[in-house]
Symmetry: C2
DNA sequence: AAACCGCTTTACGTTTACGTAAACTTTATC
DNA sequence: GATAAAGTTTACGTAAACGTAAAGCGGTTT
């Protein structure tokens, strides 16, 4: 089940198009905890998943600190203290609300893009018409070679 | 049609829950262009709309620079140069793609929240059962007062 | 007139998320 | 065994987005 593949820093770097510097930084901030063989980092599939989550979080506007908070909380949750579990549920609820907000934002943005695009096309059409008109005028005033 | 109401900096600050410092900063960066009566800023409804767009942009992970780029481009677009219009359409298309990506991210996030929540509830249920078991044991071993 | 309020500018400080360079070790290749 | 390639640490630099004083201006309330 739990795949036991491992990854080098450059493999992950390439796969997710992120610099090794960033990956090391994420480790430094406690978001990743790769094993070590001597000095070199060895990333597990769990690390890989977390990296994916980090990047998605960024795309969604989450700071690294926020993402780390979630990771930590999730780890604590696994130990199963009741208070932790309730807090986790609370936070998950908040996340859900946030996602709703983002969905609304997206819908709004899409509508605005629609109208903006429409206006652009209108303007373009008008320009095209003017061009054609000029073309006709030009032809009318063409000197005849006969 | 075009409402001619105006707003003070503190009105906007309160309405959108953003500091006056931020608003001034947005102006400084060229995102807002309020009129002036003497020294004091007077914001139009257009400024208000732009502020709303700025904030939504932030929630969606856009930088101020990106938002400014869009504003500027849109202003230029109004002058109606064909090249500008085409570029605008291109950028709008890119935005659309980005929104699609964000939608996917949201769907993924929602799924993960679902499973996380489910696990939390399972853990809680188990804890509850254990509590009940202990309760029964406690009753069984209660000394009878008769 | 004094004190207060809201607004202003100027300017230095701070946090986040890396970039970049230097110098060093480890691993692979010829 | 030299040399390149990939990895490492250390450390200083930077851009973005404000925060946070400090000090001044223009009304108005007492």
């Amino acid at each position: 089940m739990n795949e036991k593949r491992t990854f080098s820093i450059s493999e992950l770097s390439q796969e997710f198009d992120v610099t090794t510097r960033s990956i090391r930084f994420y480790e430094d901030q406690g978001l990743l905890k790769p094993a070590r063989r001597g000095q070199t980092r060895i990333f597990s599939t769990k690390d890989r998943v977390r990296l994916k989550l980090i990047l998605r979080g960024k795309r969604m506007g989450f700071s690294l600190a926020e993402t780390k908070e979630l990771f930590d909380l999730w780890d604590e949750t696994l130990t199963g203290n009741e208070k932790q579990l309730l807090k986790m549920l609370e936070i998950l609820g908040a996340r859900r609300d946030q996602l709703e907000q983002q969905k609304n934002d997206i819908v709004q943005a899409e509508m605005e893009i629609d109208t903006a695009e429409a206006r652009c096309r209108e303007s373009l059409d008008e320009l095209q018409k003017k061009k054609k008109q000029q073309g006709i005028k030009a032809k009318e005033s063409e000197p005849t070679t006969t």
